[in-house]
């Protein structure tokens, strides 16, 4: 899987401009199916979103024009100049972060808070530190603290599998 990508900002701006213009066109098309205004003077539900889309489209077109007409990196540019006009993207790290977060959220929806939260922390800490016993204890303690703070003190109704929603003394 690709790791650290060096992306030219000029190319990124061109792609961003094209994507934004396409997005504006699609979103504007969606607004055509909305109900027309009913009250006298009422501009209707589509008025403000259309203004926003037109503004985005105008500035995206300007961004696209500016990027297309800008000078790209040349062969004899210094490394510092090339790096200044680029950005790094750790694609695999980004994808894994989204995946871990997404799996944790879906798991919480299916099997409640305790187990996914514990497994997420245990796995993340274990992989990073290689200290599995420490990770186990820390993950357990963190889940317990979050339960006390969020559920018992702040009365947040987290989905719980085996811990009680209320504790009375």
């Amino acid at each position: 899987m690709m790791n650290n990508l060096l992306i030219s900002l000029r190319k990124a701006d061109i792609v961003s401009g094209v994507v934004l213009l396409a997005f504006c066109a699609a979103a504007y098309y969606l607004t055509l199916s909305w109900l027309p205004p009913v009250m006298p003077g009422d501009p209707g539900a589509a008025f403000f979103p259309r203004i926003s889309l037109i503004v985005i489209a105008i500035f995206s077109a300007l961004l696209l024009f500016k990027s297309v007409t800008a000078r790209g990196a040349a062969e004899n540019d210094s490394v510092e100049d090339k790096l200044a006009g680029s950005t790094f993207l750790n694609l695999s790290g980004f994808a894994m972060t989204v995946l871990y977060g997404g799996i944790t959220v879906i798991a919480m929806a299916v099997i409640a808070f305790e187990i996914p939260a514990f497994l997420f922390l245990f796995a993340m800490l274990g992989m990073r530190t290689k200290r599995w016993v420490w990770s186990l204890v820390t993950a357990l303690a963190t889940v317990a603290i979050m339960y006390v703070v969020f559920v018992l003190m702040l009365k947040v109704r987290l989905p719980l599998l085996f811990l009680p929603q209320y504790v009375s003394f």
Partner: protein, 496 residues
């Protein structure tokens, strides 16, 4: 000073309740700790703590969040001085002389200058606004729906031009924020951009947007830190704790008094303008101090005044920024947008009426800021040796804890796990936006101000029977819109 006499008593009574004092002290400690973490400033600290305000009363919630914001702005200076990594963008100017001071063993002195100057700036600007806020609110009452619509656009034009690497990208971000605010049910009953998904009917929750746009990108970065990046961070952090302790006493404070006064006034003035925020305030303060100083040629090598000026301005901006936010409903920065979100979540609408209907609460905000700065001084002086240890915590370990907290925080808003999923998706988009040099602050500002702008535009259109030209033709509206256009054009030309 109409309203001052009748509001000061109840305001003092509000602030000096035990729960408010506790909220201020806890907020200061939390704010400093979060502000120390590189990448986490006032905006991120407020976004992280927002869910906790759901169970607080309005004055406690507001004072808690104000304390966190003020303390986080100071906290950002600590890694700026110690490891050349500003915790907030506003602390970037502090790096210039704070880090050289730390390198020659004067880290403790630099930190003491930072805390003293920051507290001074915060107290001075709070006092100014206790007396000036009601007058500014009176001006706000002269604004009708057309003028408020134009003012909202001016605020976005200023933000778009000042924040981020490119004004074009700033304006795109602001307009995207406006568009995202229209998702869900419209004021006149139609449903927009929901794609028949029931959980989008109420729109995107403010807390989800705030966490996704402000906090999530930094968490993604922490989660993606490699061992090499972490080793570099840790190597820098180890240098801190071995610095020798230089004295800093009242005589030094007296010598820095003119600098602190100048920085405070600059920060106060900049803060009152919706848009520039602490970063611009610190830049102007640093430049002005260099012009006044007899040691101008030594700026950048570790000069006391060069640390003091931006630090005073940094904290002075906080009180200043509250005035257009409370009086006109225009947040001047991402952090102030979150603070407005707290008000709205407590059913208190920012705007001119807030001063007449909740004058004592507004005054309590500024008195609370003074108390907060005093608490910050005590915590800062006592806690310096302990706070610095936070930078020692590896980012790769911190990341998972904070990510889990964000997931729970997004859920806690409405007990809906879909919001946690929304936060992950929007957070991923925000991370990519920042990678491609699109700042997310204009997006969040557009999102917060979108409903205010649309509501005022709709009202103005109904009043003028649908005639948009009539809406923008009042003298004040045309003047404000003209300013917005000039700001946008000037920013675009400056970027070329």
């Amino acid at each position: 000073m109409e309203g001052f006499a009748e509001n000061i008593g109840p305001a003092l009574g509000l602030v000096f309740q035990i729960d408010c004092i506790l909220a201020i002290v806890v907020g200061v400690i939390i704010g400093v700790i979060i502000g120390i973490l590189p990448g986490f400033g006032g905006s991120q600290a407020l976004a992280l703590m927002f869910p906790f305000t759901f169970v607080m009363s309005p004055p406690v919630a507001i004072l808690f969040m104000m304390s966190i914001y003020s303390a986080a702005e100071y906290g950002g200076s600590i890694p700026a001085i110690l490891i050349r990594t500003p915790g907030t963008t506003a602390a970037a100017m502090t790096v210039l002389d704070g880090y050289p001071m730390a390198q020659r063993g004067d880290a403790h002195r630099a930190l003491m200058i930072s805390i003293t100057s920051g507290v001074f700036g915060g107290i001075v600007s709070s006092i100014i606004f206790i007396f000036a806020a009601t007058a500014l609110a009176w001006i706000g009452l002269k604004f009708g729906p057309s003028e408020m619509f134009a003012l909202g656009l001016l605020g976005l034009a200023i933000i778009g031009s000042f924040v981020g690497s490119s004004p074009l990208k700033g304006f795109i971000g602001a307009a995207l924020g406006l568009l995202l605010s229209t998702v869900g049910e419209s004021p006149f009953g139609a449903v927009r951009f929901t794609f028949d998904l029931p959980y989008l009917a109420d729109g995107i929750p403010l807390i989800v947007m705030i966490i996704a746009m402000l906090a999530a990108p930094e968490i993604f970065k922490l989660m993606m830190l490699t061992k090499e990046d972490e080793a570099k961070r840790q190597a820098l952090a180890q240098d801190i704790l071995t610095s020798r302790k230089s004295s800093f006493g009242l005589r030094d404070v007296a010598k820095l008094l003119p600098t602190m006064i100048r920085g405070s006034f600059i920060g106060t003035a900049v803060g009152a303008i919706p848009g520039p925020g602490p970063t611009v305030g610190t830049v102007i303060a640093y430049n002005e101090e260099k012009r006044w100083s007899k040691n101008a040629d030594k700026f950048g090598t570790g000069v006391d005044e060069a640390v003091s000026a931006p630090e005073s301005a940094n904290n002075a901006v906080v009180a200043g920024a509250m005035v257009p936010a409370l009086a006109l409903g225009i947040p001047g920065s991402g952090a102030i947008a979150v603070l407005l979100g707290v008000l709205v979540s407590k059913n208190m609408v920012p705007g001119p009426l807030l001063f007449s209907e909740n004058g004592s609460l507004v005054m309590a905000v500024f008195i609370g800021l003074i108390v907060c700065n005093i608490a910050l001084l005590v915590c800062g002086i006592v806690g310096i040796r302990y706070f610095v240890k936070i930078v020692d915590v590896p980012g790769r370990i911190l990341g998972p804890f904070i990510m889990l907290m964000l997931i729970i925080g997004a859920y806690a808003h409405d007990n809906n796990i879909v919001h946690s999923g929304m936060m992950i998706i929007l957070g991923a988009v925000a991370f990519l936006m920042e990678r491609f040099r699109f700042s997310t602050i204009p997006v969040i500002l557009g999102f917060v101000m979108g409903p205010i702008i649309e509501q005022n535009l709709n009202r103005a259109m109904v009043i003028n029977l649908g005639d948009f030209i009539a809406v923008i033709s009042t003298p004040l509206t045309m003047f404000i819109l003209g300013l917005a256009v000039i700001t946008a054009i000037a920013a675009y030309r400056r970027s070329k």
